[in-house]
């Protein structure tokens, strides 16, 4: 089989290719991107789209218990580009202004640097929908996520949303008042599973019901457990979440929250 398979497989795969026109278009897009980026290159540091979106999923799932409109959101679905939409906080701020629409408050521009040496690495716009148990869309909005990295490669995300989640009905790991703004800190464990039909053992099911800081999420490439630290607060009609799966202490996250509240 090997010899014949080899030849036929090669002939088949040879036929899966871009046309000349498609390659020219790709070339044009790449060249244009390079031209636009030359004056403000921010090297893409260690970052994987998967890691960012895992954080996004975690943030969303944290708010899954919130009510919106007349229905209870059970699922969040979001879509965004695999790479950054914005290379600078200014670019992202311009997009946020555009997205403001009928919202009363404009999202403030994020700082280029956060307490603890976190530098802005890039931003994405996330189109999000909240769905109820029946899979009905009960709301949709555009969130903006700024991604930061420190000199050691630790990453964190600042998510801003007009979706005001309010009390998600669970006991936070810690709550502090900063400039009269309640800020909740949570340390949550996520079990990621590839298949939503995966049978869960009794212990896991128990934890899901009893433990406010344990979640199961589906759709990953492989089973893995990831812990996220996050602080959340609302200010000026905007919901903020700062979250990370790297070792950033609660005090550091509260400091970052204070910095954002004070702006």
């Amino acid at each position: 089989m090997d010899h014949l398979f080899d030849r036929q497989f090669q002939a088949t795969m040879d036929r899966l290719c871009f046309s000349s026109r498609e390659k020219k278009r790709m070339l044009s897009q790449l060249t244009q991107t390079a031209t636009n980026s030359e004056s403000r290159v921010i090297p893409m540091k260690k970052r994987t789209a998967g890691k960012v979106f895992a954080m996004i999923a975690a943030c969303m799932l944290i708010t899954a218990g919130s009510a919106m409109a007349m229905s209870r959101i059970m699922w969040y679905e979001g879509s965004s580009n695999a790479g950054y939409d914005y290379n600078t906080t200014a670019d992202m701020a311009a997009a946020q202004e555009e997205a403001q629409g009928t919202q009363g408050t404009a999202m403030p521009q994020l700082p280029d640097e956060l307490t603890g040496g976190f530098q802005f690495d890039g931003g994405v716009q996330v189109k999000t929908q909240g769905k109820d148990e029946e899979d009905n869309v009960v709301g949709s909005w555009k969130d903006f996520h700024g991604h930061y990295v420190d000199a050691d490669g630790k990453e964190l995300t600042v998510a801003m949303s007009y979706n005001l989640t309010g009390d998600d009905g669970r006991e936070a790991t810690e709550v502090r008042s900063i400039n009269d703004v309640p800020v909740t800190y949570n340390y949550d464990e996520y079990l990621f599973l590839p298949d939503e039909n995966t049978e869960l053992d009794a212990k896991t099911k128990d934890r899901m019901e009893q433990d406010d800081h344990f979640f199961v999420s589906y759709g990953s490439d492989a089973q893995e457990t990831v812990c996220y630290s996050s602080v959340r607060f609302q200010k000026g009609g905007i919901s903020y979440s700062v979250f990370t799966s790297d070792k950033v202490s609660a005090d550091e996250l509260f400091s970052i929250a204070e910095e954002l509240i004070s702006r």
Binding site: F5, L27, A82, Q125, K127
Partner: protein, 164 residues
Amino acid sequence: MPYMDDQNVERLVNTYADTILRIGYMYLKQTCDAEDICQEVFLKLLSHEFQFQSPSHEKAWIVRTTINACKDRLRTSFWRNAIGLDSAIDLPAPEPPDSELLELVMTLPKNQRISIYLYYYEGYSVKEIANMMGKRENTVSAYLSRGRLRLRRMLETGGRRITE
């Protein structure tokens, strides 16, 4: 941007775009998703100061990065029915070839089909494939042998024969 002049960009696209498309298709089963991966990998390559020792070194980086980008993309399936926000594409993505053999290969589990692709089409050794996929050599050997066995059975069961 480093590594970036028009001539080099054109060389990279002409040399590797199809490879990335094929690997992306093997992983993601959609040529439009594979096309997105292509853009992502090239932009990553073009925005860094890379010094490759040889063309094979350069290609190995491309293959490895493509595989990692595909894995990341699969992770974003947290987002059910996720759709890309890329600006409207004025050309449709390439159509996969109409081939029974390809259809059978695409029914294999992801790791088996990508191993089969890298071994039979790209000509990489088990060791090289293991390095690219971040797996042990024994694991890749198992992917290949199981993949071949399943293909053989499917071909025999379907009464199909690969003919000259």
